[in-house]
Amino acid sequence: MIEEETITKAEQKAQKIAHKNFKQPLSPAWVILILGVVLLACVVFSVGTGALHISFSEIAGIVSHKIGLSDTPILEEQKEIVFWVIRLPRVCLGILVGAGLGIAGAALQGLFRNPIADATLIGVTSGASLFAVIVIMVNIKFFGIINEYAGAYTLSFSAFAGAALTTMIVYQLSKMTGDGGVTTMLLCGIAINAFVGALTGLMTYLATDEQLRTITFWTLGSLGGANWTTVISVAPFVGVSILFMPYLAKSLNLLVLGESQAAHLGVNMKILKRSIIVLATLAVGSSVAVAGTIGFVGLVVPHIIRSIFGPDNRYLLVGSAFGGAIVLTIADTISRTIVAPAELPIGILTALLGTPFFLYLLWNQKRNRV
């Protein structure tokens, strides 16, 4: 029992020095705080930038007037309208979409134990694209008929349905064809992706020039359709994902040891896999539905966060949500200002800006190791 005593002693000693020793890794609270401040700065920058410049003091004035802190509205009413009706919903949508893509990418990389995994692998993106392309083609052919029933959200709704359906097929196939391990799922995902991609290709082949243009723009992604309705319809899906995903962080950490080792430490793989796939599909499906396919964020943001805050999923998941939001907010600001009054598709910008930064991180990692 001598060992028990040493442990107890060490415990007491550690408790004594605990308050002195702050060299522990950053707690999730700190990660949230740091990234939250950065995100807030990006938001303020983004809502102020555009054809009509709104300064920081004007933003403060507009917000405090709205929530009743001050009685005097700012002089230019036009700015207030631009802020509430155009800029803020767009920034909010960017945050939601970015956070959804980021957290889903991080969780899927953890689940597949593969650094190149992202939502495309389980079929979310390809399914959404196929359905979106179908709607674009049918919609232009029978203009208005579909719109009468589903309103302006036909495209979003069917893209989401396509995302969910494809993921379900991938998941069921992996259960039928193999032992249900994540490797089987990965392979099924690749197979279904290729098939759905071929169908999309076929539709593209049949498309007219005008349709092709719409399809291409949709594939490159845009937050241009943002208004409060889209924000409110996306928020619950992304919200659920961000709220519940962090509870899976510990299990995802154990998964690093391997599937069977995680099971030995009490992780129920079936439940973990199903919850991650459902949550990721909700987040990415709804994001793709309103903003099109925005590449890069889901794949690279988790890597960026990992190289800054370490691979622990407790920081990684939340960090990737914030990271995704930051990246998308910045990218969207640039996308709508750089070629104003036109807009550059955001998918182009995320990759264009992100890749050099990502390569720099890889290079830096190598330099630190040597």
Partner: protein, 257 residues
Amino acid sequence: MHFVVKNKSLLQEINLKAKTGEFWAIVGANGAGKSTLMKLLSKELVPTSGKISFHEKDLKKYNLKELAQKRAVLAQQNVITLSFTVHEIVLMGRYPFYESKPSQRDLSIVDHCLHKVGIIHFKDRMYPTLSGGEQQRVQLARTLAQIWEVREGFILLDEPTSGMDLLHQYETFQLAREMTQKGYGVIAVVHDLNFALQYADRILMLKKGKIFASGTPNEVLTGKNIKEAFGVSVRIIQPDDTPFPVIIPEASPVAVI
């Protein structure tokens, strides 16, 4: 407290009863079913027929979380590519015991287990930068951390010493021995018959999925048994100054043509 296994196909007619406080070594040639048996015992696989009981309760009736708090498993292959630190990996052994934040006690147990395995100086190193044997010791520490506070727990080790140097192989078996004296049950797949002979209480010798021999080391590890199970002729020598005999293969000189 016992395991009873009866299973067919890959493993046939296996009957084993392990008690706490005992060190069982499972030996046998490659493909004899040692790892399969370990997987059955750890509930990674379910026997096609037959029953495994653990602490007088059917193993199937345990959920994974309960089991994680009663037995620890060290698997054969442990590949980790993400740069977790050694400390973080060993702390994962404590995951079944805390919800969101490790208690000071969990952290102390981790430190203690790191000491036990002699890797406390690696504490902040990145796991993927360690050598194979060092990684195996980290995994051993994680296994220890998981079982540390469990009374009458079982430790399942599938080739615990693979990749380790002589000193650490020796220390690992010493540690396993020590754990049995504390009241744990240890079941390990062992390749080095000398270590099995020296440290195990009981030996289970498998051949082609069946029990070939089972009993105390001196009963099982005889020249005749080893010849039939492994296909190698050995000599068993009892040196004057050691309490246990030594097994050496009767190697014929390599013919160079």
